[in-house]
C-alpha cells in the first residue's frame, strides 16, 4: 500500500506550519520521511537550500531536525536524563558520558516546560503524558532548526498544553521552523501561521491561517461538510448501574473514590495529567484490582480481581494506549473484534469462522472502518480506524458499563463526530458510560455529569453544562473558584 | 535381502562384503584409533567399511544407527555397546534378518552376537586398575575415581568391579569420592584439584575415562604433589607420555587399540564368511598373529600397563 503520493511541502524559518488531515491521511508517514525513519520512493528533500538524499535519523539530527513522534520513542529501562541525553548527544561511540552534565541539562529542560519529573526516574515508571513531556523536552533541547510535533497534545491536559504552546512560541521567536500536527482545530488557530491539509496521502493545499476558517478547513480535510457540534443528549438517566464506595488502590495512587453512574448516562471524567483517571479505570477493569472500598454493579457487590471477571460482570474498557492495549496489531480485524466475547461467540471453545466474519462485517459497516476487509491485520489501519476496532471489540460484549479512556485521542474530526454519535446512541440504549477525556470541549459537550479527579480522588462533581473554567479550577484544586 | 553369499576374504568372487563398525561415540581419539585399525583390515579384505556412531555417548542413537544399518543391508555389524541391554534387542533383530553380529570393546548380552572381541573384560579392567592402584600405594590409603559421566554404563560396570575387588582384597584402602568430568580434560583437572585439597590424605587418583588421565595428572603437577599422589588410569599413551616421563602419572592401562580395530574387522569378516564358527579355539588374525578364543570371546590379550620404561614404544 502506498501511504504517500506526491506531497509538496515547505517550511520557513520562524513559522509554525500546521499539518492537518483525517486519520490515515499520511501525516505521520510524511514526518517519518522527513526525519529519515522511512525512505521515500521518490521526490526531493531540501534543508536550508541544500538537497539531501539518503536521509537517516542520525543525518536528520545532524541537519537540525528534531521530532516528537506520535508514539513516544523513549527507552523505558533508562532514566529520563539518559533518554534526553541519547537524543541530544552527538553519538560518537567512544565518547564518555558526563552524568552530572546530563542530569543538569535534563532538569533544566524539564523545568522549562514545567514538568515535575525527576530526571533520575526510569521512563517505565512514567505515565503516557509524562512520557510525552519528556519527548517535548528532548525536542526543545535539540537546538534544532526544524522541530516536528506529531500530536504532542494528544494526551496532555490544558495546563501542559499551555506550557507547550509557550514553548512553541518561544521556538518560533528564535527562528525555528515548527511542523505541528494536531486534530484539534482550536490549537491550530491559536498557534499556526500556515496550514497544509493532507488527504489520502496527497496535499490538498497550503493556506495562511489568517485566510481560512474552521468550516473551510474541515471541508478541505474530509472533502465534505461535517458538523463539529456535539450531538445533543437524548436520554434520561435510569437506575444506578455502577456505584463506587471509597474505592482505592495504593499501588495506582487512587484513594477513596465514590461515584455513581446511571444507565443511559455519560459520566465525564476530567482531570490533569496523573490525576489518576486511567488508574481508576484500570481498577474498575480488574487490571490493578482495588485494595479498599466496594464496587457495586446493579446493586450487587463484585470483586473485580481480573479483566475476565470485569468482562463477565458487564464492564468494558477501551484503553488509552490503543496500539499496546486496544488492538493486537498483527491479528486480523475480525479476531480483534471478537477477542472479548470468546465464551459467547464460540461455545465449547470451538471457533466459528463464519459467525466471526459476519459479526466483524457488521461492525466494520456500523462504525465505517476504512479497511480492505475483516482479514486485514489491525496494524494496517490508521490510528482512528484502530480506535474504531477497539471500540467494536467492546461493543460486541454488550456491556452494561462502558469505560472509554481518551476515546478520540488522535482521531480526526470526521471519525470523532462518528464516535461521539455512537457514544450517544449507546447511552440512549441504556448503557452507562464513563468517559475519560483530556479534551475539555469533548468532556463538556458529551457529558451528562462531570467528575473531576485530582490527586487520585474525586475533587468535584459537576453538572454536564458546566463551563470550562469551573472544571479547570476543580482540576487545579482551587475550590473557591470552583464553587463560584 | 538374504545374507550375502560370497563374503570371503577375496573381493573378486561374488558380492562385496559390507562391514559396519559402531563406536560408543565419535569424535573421540580412542575410537578414531580403532577405526584406523579397522580400515586397514577392511582394505586388506577388500570389504566396504561403514563407520558411524553417536556424536556423544547415547544408547538411543546407537540403536537408531543399528536399525538403519539393518535397513541398509550390511553383511555384518561390529558393535561397541554403550549399554548392554539397551542395544541387544536391536542386534537380535539384525540377526533375525540374517546379519551377523560381533561385539568389541564392550559386550552386549550373549544371545545378541556370535563373538565378542575381548580386549579385556570389565572384570579384568576393574581388577587390573584396582591391583595397580594398590601396588602403587602400598595397599593402603584413600583414593578417588574420576569418571566420564555418572550414567556411562561401561564405566559404571568397571566401578562395580573396582569396588568389589577393593572390598575383597584391600581392606586398608578407601574409595572416598567419585566425580564425573563430562569427558572433558579441563573439568577433570578442576575436579582433581578439588579432590586433592578436600581429601588431604588422598594417595591416589584413578581416572577411568581417557581425557581424565592427563587432566588428573596436570592437577597433581600443579598442586606440587607429583609422586606423592599417584595417578593411574585408562588412557592413550600419546596423551600421557609427558606426564608418565615426568613421573606424575605412574601407570596408564590400555590395550593396543589399533589392533583391536583390526582384529574386530577380521573376526567380523570371518564370522560372516562362516570361517569362524562357535567352538573354534583359535583365530588367525593375519598380521597381528593368532588369537586365542575362550568360549565365544576372541581374546586380544591382556591389557597393557604403560609406564616410564615402555611408553616410548607406542605411538597412538
Amino acid at each position: 500500500m502506498r501511504a504517500l503520493k506526491e506531497v509538496s511541502f515547505d517550511l520557513h524559518a520562524g513559522e509554525v506550519h500546521a499539518l492537518l488531515g483525517e486519520n490515515g491521511a499520511g501525516k505521520s508517514t510524511l514526518i517519518k520521511v522527513i526525519t529519515g525513519a522511512h525512505q521515500p520512493d521518490g521526490g526531493r528533500i531540501t534543508v536550508g537550500g541544500v538537497e539531501v538524499s539518503q536521509l537517516t535519523p542520525a543525518r536528520a539530527r545532524a541537519l537540525g531536525i528534531a521530532c516528537i513522534y506520535q508514539q513516544p520513542a523513549l527507552f523505558p529501562d533508562l532514566s529520563v536524563a539518559e533518554n534526553i541525553a541519547l537524543r541530544l548527544e552527538k553519538t560518537s561511540a567512544w565518547q564518555r558520558v558526563r552524568w552530572a552534565e546530563i542530569a543538569r541539562r535534563a532538569r533544566e529542560l524539564l523545568q522549562r516546560i514545567g514538568a515535575e519529573i525527576d530526571p533520575a526516574t526510569e521512563v517505565r515508571e512514567l505515565s503516557m503524558p509524562e512520557q510525552q513531556l519528556v519527548e517535548i523536552a528532548c525536542a526543545l533541547g535539540a537546538g534544532a532548526r526544524i522541530v516536528i510535533m506529531d500530536e504532542p497534545t494528544a494526551s496532555l491536559t490544558q495546563k501542559e498544553q499551555h506550557l507547550l504552546f509557550a514553548v512553541v512560541r518561544e521556538l518560533r521567536a528564535q527562528g525555528v521552523g515548527v511542523i505541528y500536527i494536531s486534530h484539534r482545530l482550536e490549537e491550530i488557530f491559536a498557534l499556526a501561521d500556515r496550514v497544509t491539509v493532507l488527504r489520502d496521502g496527497e496535499s490538498v493545499g497550503t493556506n495562511p491561517v489568517a485566510a481560512i476558517n474552521e468550516a473551510s478547513l474541515i471541508r478541505m480535510m474530509v472533502g465534505r461538510e461535517v458538523s463539529a457540534i456535539y450531538p445533543p443528549a437524548e436520554s434520561a438517566p435510569g437506575e444506578v448501574v455502577l456505584a463506587l464506595c471509597g474505592v482505592g488502590c495504593a499501588a495506582g495512587g487512587v484513594r477513596d473514590v465514590s461515584l455513581e453512574v446511571r444507565a443511559g448516562e455519560i459520566m465525564g471524567l476530567a482531570g490533569l495529567v496523573g490525576a489518576g483517571r486511567t488508574e481508576l479505570a484500570r481498577i474498575l477493569f480488574g487490571i490493578t484490582p482495588a485494595d479498599s472500598g466496594e464496587i457495586i454493579l446493579h446493586g450487587r457487590r463484585v470483586a473485580v480481581a481480573s479483566p475476565r471477571i470485569a468482562v463477565a460482570a458487564g464492564i468494558a474498557y477501551v484503553p488509552e494506549d490503543r496500539r499496546r492495549h486496544g488492538v493486537i496489531l498483527e491479528m486480523p480485524i475480525a479476531a480483534n473484534m471478537t477477542m472479548a466475547i470468546h465464551p459467547r461467540l464460540f461455545p465449547g471453545a470451538w471457533l466459528r469462522f463464519g459467525a466471526e466474519r459476519a459479526l466483524a462485517l457488521d461492525y466494520i459497516r456500523e462504525l465505517a472502518v476504512k479497511t480492505f476487509g475483516p482479514e486485514a491485520p489491525g496494524g494496517s489501519l490508521s490510528g482512528g480506524n484502530q480506535q474504531k476496532v477497539a471500540l467494536a471489540r467492546w461493543l460486541a460484549t454488550q456491556p452494561k458499563l462502558l469505560i472509554l479512556d481518551e476515546p478520540t485521542q488522535g482521531v480526526d474530526v470526521g471519525a470523532k463526530g462518528e464516535i461521539h454519535k455512537i457514544i450517544r446512541r449507546l447511552a440512549k440504549d441504556g448503557l452507562a458510560v464513563l468517559m475519560i477525556s483530556s479534551d475539555l470541549p469533548e468532556v463538556l459537550g458529551m457529558s451528562d455529569r462531570i467528575a473531576v479527579m485530582r490527586g487520585g480522588t474525586i475533587a468535584a462533581m459537576l453538572p454536564g453544562h458546566s463551563d470550562a473554567h469551573t472544571v479547570m479550577a476543580a482540576a487545579l484544586g482551587q475550590p473557591g473558584k470552583a464553587a463560584a | 535381502k538374504d545374507a550375502p553369499s560370497g563374503g570371503s576374504n577375496n573381493s573378486a568372487g561374488g558380492k562385496k562384503m559390507t562391514i559396519a563398525l559402531l563406536p560408543k561415540s565419535k569424535g573421540n581419539q580412542y575410537f578414531a584409533t580403532v577405526e584406523k585399525g579397522a580400515r586397514a583390515a577392511a582394505t586388506e579384505l577388500g570389504a566396504d567399511l561403514l563407520y558411524d556412531g553417536p556424536t556423544n555417548t547415547d544408547p538411543a542413537k546407537q540403536n537408531e544407527i543399528v536399525e538403519g544399518w539393518v535397513n541398509y543391508g550390511v553383511t555384518v555389524i561390529a558393535a561397541a555397546c554403550e549399554n548392554k541391554e539397551g542395544i541387544s534387542a536391536a542386534l537380535k533383530a539384525a540377526q533375525d534378518k540374517g546379519i551377523k553380529v560381533v561385539t568389541y570393546d564392550s559386550d552386549t548380552t550373549t544371545d545378541a552376537r556370535s563373538f565378542f572381541v575381548n580386549q579385556a573384560t570389565a572384570e579384568g579392567i576393574g581388577n587390573t586398575l584396582m591391583d595397580e592402584a594398590a601396588r602403587l600405594t602400598g595397599e593402603e590409603g584413600d583414593f578417588a575415581i574420576i569418571t566420564a559421566t555418572l550414567t556411562a554404563s561401561n564405566m559404571n560396570e568397571w566401578r562395580k568391579h573396582i569396588e568389589a575387588r577393593l572390598k575383597e582384597k584391600y581392606p586398608k584402602m578407601k574409595l572416598v569420592d567419585t566425580k564425573p568430568c563430562d569427558d572433558q580434560k579441563d573439568k577433570a583437572q578442576q575436579e582433581a584439584t578439588n579432590l586433592l585439597s578436600a581429601y588431604p590424605n588422598l594417595k591416589c587418583l584413578m581416572a577411568i575415562c581417557s581425557p581424565a588421565v592427563p587432566g588428573a595428572a596436570e592437577a597433581v603437577k600443579q598442586a606440587g604433589k607429583a609422586g606423592a599422589v599417584k595417578v593411574l588410569g585408562l588412557g592413550l599413551p600419546s596423551e600421557n607420555k609427558a606426564y608418565v616421563k615426568d613421573g606424575v602419572t605412574q601407570s596408564v592401562i590400555l590395550w593396543k587399540v589399533e589392533d583391536l580395530g583390526y582384529l574386530t574387522i577380521k573376526a567380523a569378516a570371518a564370522v560372516a564368511a562362516g570361517s569362524l564358527k562357535a567352538g573354534a579355539a583359535e583365530f588367525d588374525a593375519g598380521k597381528i598373529g593368532k588369537m586365542e578364543i575362550q568360549g565365544d570371546n576372541v581374546l586380544l590379550g591382556k591389557p597393557f600397563i604403560f609406564n616410564k620404561e615402555n611408553i616410548d614404544g607406542f605411538d597412538f
Binding site: P319, G326, L351 | N56, S153
Partner: protein, 343 residues
C-alpha cells in the same frame, strides 16, 4: 475487497509450502541415491526414531506460539523415564497405573514451570533453564546415575516396537497428538489466545483473556506429553535411564522453528511443525543410506551439520523472499485501490 492472489503465489509465500517442497525433494533425492530408502522398514525406522522428538516438538509449538520456550522437556523426559522405572520396579505398581502416574507427574512438572512463569512473571527461558538442570539432576540423584531399569512387560514394550497397519504404534500416537494439538491451536479459542498472547501479552490481558492460565496450560501440556514421550522412549529402548532424552529440547525447537513458527510468538502452524520434524528425520536418516557418505563414516556429523545449515537457509530464505515480495508490492501499489469503508 482483497483480490484473491494467484494460487501458487499464496502457496509459496507460506513457509509450510517451502518445507513441503524440501521434503518432497529429499524423498525424491534419497529414493534415487540412497540404498533401500524406499522401503517400509526404513519408513518405520524414521517414524520410530523421531517419534519422541516429534512429540516434544508438537507441544513446544504452542509454547513458542505464546512467545515462550521450554528448555526442560528433554530433562523431564529423562526424569519421567526414571520415575516410570521406579514405579514399576521399586514400588511394583502395575504398568498401566505406573504409566498413568508418570503422566500425572509429567503434567505436574510442567505445572511447576508454568506456575513459576505465570505466578511470579518470570521469563520462561530462565525458569526452564533452571528446571533443565533440576529435572536431569533429580533423575541422576534418584538413580545415583548408575541405576538402569529394564525388563518391562512385553505388552508395554510393544509400544516401542510393534506396528499396526504398517505404521509403528508410536506413529499412530504421534498422529493422534498432532491432530489434537492442531485442533487445539487452529480450531479453538485456546489457540486464538495463544496467538494473541504471543503477539502482545498486554493486549491479550486488556481483551479480558485469561493470559496467565493459558500460558500455564501450554507448559502443563508440554509436561504431560514429555511424560508420554518418556514412555515411548522407554518402550523403544527397553530400559529407563537418567540420560534419556539428552539434547532433545534443542532438536524439538529446531523442528518447530524450521516449521515456520516464529520464535517471537504469534505466528505458526502445527502442520508446519510436523513438516519440520519430517524434514529433519528424513534428512538425517537418508544421508546415512547414501553409500558414499556411509563409507566415509561421516553420516552422523553430516546429518547434524546439514540440519543446522537447513535451519539457517530456511530462515534466511524466508526473510529474503519476504523482502522481495515487499519490493514487488511497493512497485504495484499505484495500481491498487485504497481501502474504503465497507458499505
Amino acid at each position: 475487497m482483497s483480490q484473491p492472489a494467484p494460487f501458487f503465489k499464496t502457496l509459496l509465500a507460506r513457509p509450510e509450502a517451502v518445507l513441503l517442497f524440501v521434503l518432497v525433494a529429499e524423498l525424491v533425492f534419497f529414493s534415487a541415491v540412497g540404498r533401500n530408502f524406499n522401503t517400509a522398514d526404513n519408513f518405520a525406522n524414521i517414524v520410530r526414531h523421531s517419534a519422541e522428538i516429534g512429540l516434544l516438538a508438537l507441544v513446544m509449538m504452542p509454547i513458542i506460539l505464546t512467545g515462550g520456550i521450554d528448555l526442560s522437556v528433554g530433562s523431564l523426559l529423562g526424569l519421567c523415564a526414571v520415575l516410570f522405572g521406579v514405579f514399576t520396579h521399586e514400588w511394583h505398581i502395575a504398568t498401566p497405573l505406573a504409566a498413568a502416574l508418570t503422566l500425572v507427574v509429567g503434567a505436574a512438572a510442567g505445572g511447576l514451570n508454568g506456575g513459576l512463569i505465570t505466578g511470579l512473571r518470570l521469563p520462561p527461558l530462565i525458569v526452564t533453564l533452571g528446571t533443565f538442570s533440576l529435572f536431569r539432576g533429580l533423575a541422576e540423584a534418584i538413580t545415583k546415575g548408575t541405576m538402569t531399569y529394564k525388563d518391562f512387560s512385553p505388552a508395554f514394550l510393544a509400544l516401542g516396537h510393534e506396528r499396526a497397519l504398517g505404521l509403528p504404534y508410536q506413529g499412530w500416537l504421534f498422529i493422534a497428538i498432532a491432530v489434537a494439538i492442531s485442533v487445539l491451536v487452529h480450531r479453538t479459542t485456546f489457540g486464538r489466545s495463544f496467538q494473541a498472547i504471543g503477539f502482545s501479552p498486554e493486549g491479550a490481558r486488556y481483551a479480558g483473556l485469561p493470559v496467565q492460565r493459558r500460558i500455564a496450560t501450554t507448559y502443563v501440556l508440554a509436561g504431560f506429553v514429555a511424560a508420554l514421550a518418556a514412555l515411548v522412549f522407554t518402550a523403544r529402548l527397553r530400559q529407563a535411564r537418567a540420560d534419556a532424552g539428552s539434547g532433545y529440547e534443542l532438536q524439538a525447537i529446531t523442528a518447530v522453528v524450521l516449521g515456520g513458527t516464529s520464535i517471537f510468538g504469534g505466528v505458526g502452524t502445527v502442520g508446519g511443525t510436523v513438516l519440520g520434524v519430517a524434514c529433519v528425520a528424513v534428512l538425517t536418516t537418508g544421508l546415512k543410506l547414501i553409500p558414499a557418505i556411509a563409507l566415509q563414516g561421516i553420516g552422523s556429523e553430516l546429518g547434524s551439520l546439514l540440519t543446522g545449515a537447513l535451519l539457517i537457509f530456511a530462515l534466511a530464505g524466508g526473510v529474503l523472499a519476504k523482502s522481495l515480495a515487499a519490493r514487488r508490492a511497493r512497485r504495484q501499489s499505484l495500481a491498487k485501490p485504497q481501502p474504503q469503508p465497507i458499505t
